[in-house]
Subunit: 303 residues, 2 copies
């Protein structure tokens, strides 16, 4: 039973840029289709891994339109639509909902620090009211390492009380199992997705829905296998295998590493570009990453 429209392994799809830093919509649509073919249950496009905050609102909406026109089912998409500016959040959320997206992943307005839960509630509530659609399904995005501003248990409670059929889930990228566990216990009818596959099995056993994970861009099939087999005797061994891959990659700069891996797997050097303030992965780190991935037995899924 899910409160919203998603369960399983969701991938915050990488956004390819050309060498002039413009978004590369063809490669983006192709990557989205490849991820779904590999077993991704949904695509949390325009997340942190997607460099979404490095793109203007118009760029994000144009990419979303294109990927849907290209044949990616809107129902499989959970675009990030939470911005610092409430007017941007409203516009992005309304656009995604109008296009039929299965849900949206909403960051809090993350510029100001030390703001109150009342202020954060007002932000989300105002967006929900102004979008004004029963089709809207909001997944809150708790990612203190980047946003700093958290989604507290109290805030979830306030939003669940007033918008029980709209605010349906949370991506928990705190990396703190105690927080994930507390949310699962306090809100049993709420769809919780840890922000890393390191917590996939643990999360599923505690009532979670799956995970939304950056490394799903390069290891979707491996991660999906844990989800498919989580009630079997194999589960812990399968989890250990994806843990080894994840821990190897996350010791390197995440987005530049994933882009270089995709460039390598698809034999397409154009994939390496990132927008500042990120920088491309240098050759030394790349060789080290490849060696360490080989050492943990990471095999690329065939195209």
């Amino acid at each position: 039973m899910t409160a919203g429209n998603f369960t399983g392994v969701l991938v915050p799809a990488l956004t390819p840029f050309r060498s002039d830093l413009s978004p590369d919509r063809q490669r983006f649509a192709a990557h989205c289709k490849w991820l779904l073919k590999q077993g991704a249950d949904g695509l949390a496009i325009f997340g942190t891994t997607s460099e979404a905050n490095s793109m203007a609102a118009d760029e994000r909406m144009e990419l979303l339109d294109f990927v849907i026109e290209s044949g990616v089912p809107a129902a499989k998409l959970m675009p990030g639509t939470g911005a610092c500016a409430i007017t941007d959040s409203i516009r992005l959320t309304k656009h995604a909902t109008d296009r039929g997206c299965g849900g949206v992943l909403m960051l809090p307005p993350f510029y100001y620090k030390g703001v109150s839960d009342a202020g954060l509630y007002a932000n989300f509530s105002e967006v929900i009211q102004r979008v004004g659609s029963p089709k809207l399904k909001v997944y809150l995005y708790h990612i203190p390492p980047q946003a700093v501003t958290p989604i507290s248990l109290a805030l979830i409670g306030m939003l669940r009380k007033d918008y029980p059929t709209t605010v349906v889930g949370l991506k928990d990228s705190s990396g703190d199992w105690n927080n994930t566990s507390a949310v699962l216990k306090e809100f049993p009818d709420f769809d919780v997705f840890p922000g890393s596959e390191l917590f996939l099995l643990q999360g599923l056993r505690a009532g979670g829905q799956g995970c939304i994970t950056a490394t799903g861009n390069v290891n979707p099939a491996g991660i999906r296998k844990v989800y498919e087999n989580w009630k079997t005797a194999e589960a812990d061994a399968l989890q250990a295998r994806i843990d080894a891959v994840r821990k190897t990659i996350q010791a390197f700069p995440m987005v530049p590493s994933l882009k270089r891996l995709i460039a390598h797997f698809h034999d397409d050097a154009e994939w390496v570009h990132v927008r500042p303030p990120m920088v491309k992965l240098g050759d030394d780190k790349w060789q080290k990453l490849l060696a360490e991935l080989n050492a943990v037995g990471f095999a690329v899924a065939p195209k």
Copy 2:
């Protein structure tokens, strides 16, 4: 001698919103004019105090156009143009430069944390290159309490080396005199503005250009007096007076407090509105603020 076009007391003008949260351009232009009449040497519109990050890029550009059309000299304006998305930063910076603004105040792309100076350099460099105007004057905005991502001395050095006539100054809102002092020492031909009048006199004595300060919205004349008299025997006593006002106000939520003060001074209740995640100052805090300001002898400058 200044490297850029500004010196003295600059005010990050508050942005008035209507009760429906839309920007109130008439009140904004009137407030900008009032600040200049009170002695502000420049207006750092669209700063943190202006809730700039709560506004979409288009809203900011429309307000800038309106305030200039209303008769505020563009040369007196230093709009904030640094955004998370490099495409927004380029668009905002180009627009402000085309309109003849005396300079722009640029935040680093503040979503990602722990990024390298090389990545931040690439961000600012790319914006400067794409705006491509000798008229562009960039003031870097160092505000770790909100942006977290800092503007380091090394980064200033890299930018000064490659763009000596474009990257001309810094607003230092660290609240850390050791940092301000280090920048002043390492870059003597660089225009440094502490982000609070608490450091005005100390900054001027060490070679700073003045300050850019939130409380300039309500105490522009008092702060200007320190700037005018900083070489006189009165200077320390004048500084002590503005310190008392600043310390009183900054113990309360800054932007909601300033807006309620402006509403009070201008007898205009519409001024109290803030965009989420900020919340209006409640009556209890307001009464406390008024009492404490009276206790330190703060008298409102006449309109």
